[in-house]
Amino acid sequence: MIEIDRVCFGYGGPLVLEDVSLSVPPGEFLGLVGPNGGGKSTLLKIILGLIEPTAGRVTLLGRRPTQARRAVGYVPQHPVFPRDFPITVEDAVLLGRIGRTRWWGGFPAVDRPIARKAMRETEVGDLAGRSLATLSGGQLQRVLIAQALASEPRVLLLDEPTANIDLRVESDIYSLLKHLSARLTIVVVSHDVGFISQYVTRVACLNRTLLCHQTDAITGQTIEALYGTPVRMIHHRH
């Protein structure tokens, strides 16, 4: 689904990404972890074709990212819209239909059941008429996931979907993603290796270069290499 081949990138200064190669097969639920500033968000933006790599290439669904990205649902880390933007939850979710529906006029009636289904799936169906400004952080995150799902994507990219919400909601959202991963290829960025490893099928560790991408258990050495400091692992058993 996603092929990243020896990608390098720098914002004019030192490289943020160096020689990153990664292949994401269909159906995978990949956790992309690493420290802040490790290049995780940048890599997502390159996959989406929002920024061009300085070297290397990316193919998405066998095509160039700019051509294929309409088949991708993306949930950014920091929503850029003002929180008090005058829009209802349902209309915000419908925005995900753009590019999948007629180009002119408002949203046709056929888009509404699709948006409703996405909202039910993320459990925000009863918020449909609410103003976006009145939502809690966790509710907003679910609405943004519904917006991404409304585009009926084949791939879902999420950048720290649980950055500003409490722990209980965090596990709810990851359970939802796990449920969605039955039919979608998902890449989720996180800085919390221990937490996501119980949900994802594979973890890739990124700190400028790709340090590991494996399915077996994460060892203390990997985390040490990733974060540069020794850490004590605490094993959770479930």
């Binding site: 309409r70 933007f85 103003s131």
Partner: protein, 292 residues
């Protein structure tokens, strides 16, 4: 008020003025909503002031000043759009330059125009009592074009105002849509010049929509409410100005500004009252539970 209504029945120029105010309110309500939610009030200010350059040039060349105004408004919109899309880091400096240089050119052209000196004040502050029936048809036509464009590109405008990155990922041509939006601002400015003049345009473009935003939660509702408020402010301003013979455009702007101030001051009180009501209801439930 009574005096105004009597005069309204007698004088065709007052009827034209009233209709002009109402027509301008439609464009203001629709385009002003985008100006407010997209936070491009400063850009709209730059575009409207730069229009004087085109009016002056048209006057100097003996052409129709409103044609010059339209050309200048579209040119200023294109320049402003280019600045925000390509020179974001110097955005405020460059827009200030477009703003001031446009006005300066206008004044220079007017000063060099031989013969009868134009009434500069009516360009700057409007003269709604001079609106002719032909102007009303032009305003109605422009309104129709604005409404048609907004209806056609509703999704694109909404997406670009809400989140440009999302719009780009969903395949919306973001830059073209943004420039189209600025072109709508430009034509709105031009039809407002007769009503309030190019300096006061920005008030009617932002204040009704800013008030509407405090009460409604969707863009279409904001457009309708701000168009109605705009109609109220222009008609109210015209009525108030008639008796004491005040400049109508300035009176409208003061009315709009006062309404905005009142709404903003009352807003937090209203919110507090709602919260207080909700707390009362919650505490009520609590007492019920305790009783059980």
């Amino acid at each position: 008020m009574g005096e105004f209504l009597r005069a309204l029945g007698e004088h065709a120029f007052l009827q034209s003025a009233l209709v002009a105010g109402l027509l301008a309110s439609v464009a203001c309500g629709v385009v002003g909503t985008y100006v407010v939610v997209k936070r491009i009030g400063y850009l709209a200010g730059g575009i409207s002031h730069a229009v004087l350059g085109g009016m002056g040039a048209a006057y100097f060349l003996g052409a129709d000043p409103m044609g010059g105004a339209l050309a200048a408004a579209l040119l200023a919109a294109a320049l402003t759009g280019w600045v925000t899309l390509r020179r974001r880091e110097q955005e405020d400096t460059l827009i200030s330059a477009i703003w001031a240089v446009g006005m300066a050119l206008g004044v220079l052209f007017i000063s060099r125009t031989p013969g009868y000196s134009v009434d500069l004040m009516s360009y700057l502050f409007g003269n709604i009592l001079m609106v002719r029936v032909r102007d009303l048809w032009v305003m109605a036509g422009v309104n129709a074009a604005i409404l048609g464009t907004v209806a056609l590109l509703y999704k694109q405008f909404l997406a670009v105002c809400f989140d440009e990155e999302l719009a780009r990922l969903r395949g919306v041509p973001v830059e073209l849509t943004y420039l189209t939006l600025l072109a709508l601002v430009a034509v709105t400015v031009v039809i407002l010049i007769k009503v309030v003049g190019l300096i006061l345009v920005i008030a009617l473009l932002t204040l009704p929509a800013a008030i509407a935003r405090q009460y409604v939660t969707t863009l279409p509702a904001m457009m309708v409410v701000s168009a109605l408020l705009g109609g109220l402010f222009t008609s109210g301003g015209l009525t108030l100005s008639y008796g004491p013979d005040l400049p109508a455009g300035s009176t409208m702007v003061v009315v709009a500004g006062t309404a905005y101030l009142l709404s903003t001051l009352v807003g937090p009180l209203r919110k507090r009252a709602v919260q207080w009501g909700a707390r009362r209801r919650r505490e009520g439930c609590q007492t019920d539970r305790d009783a059980l």
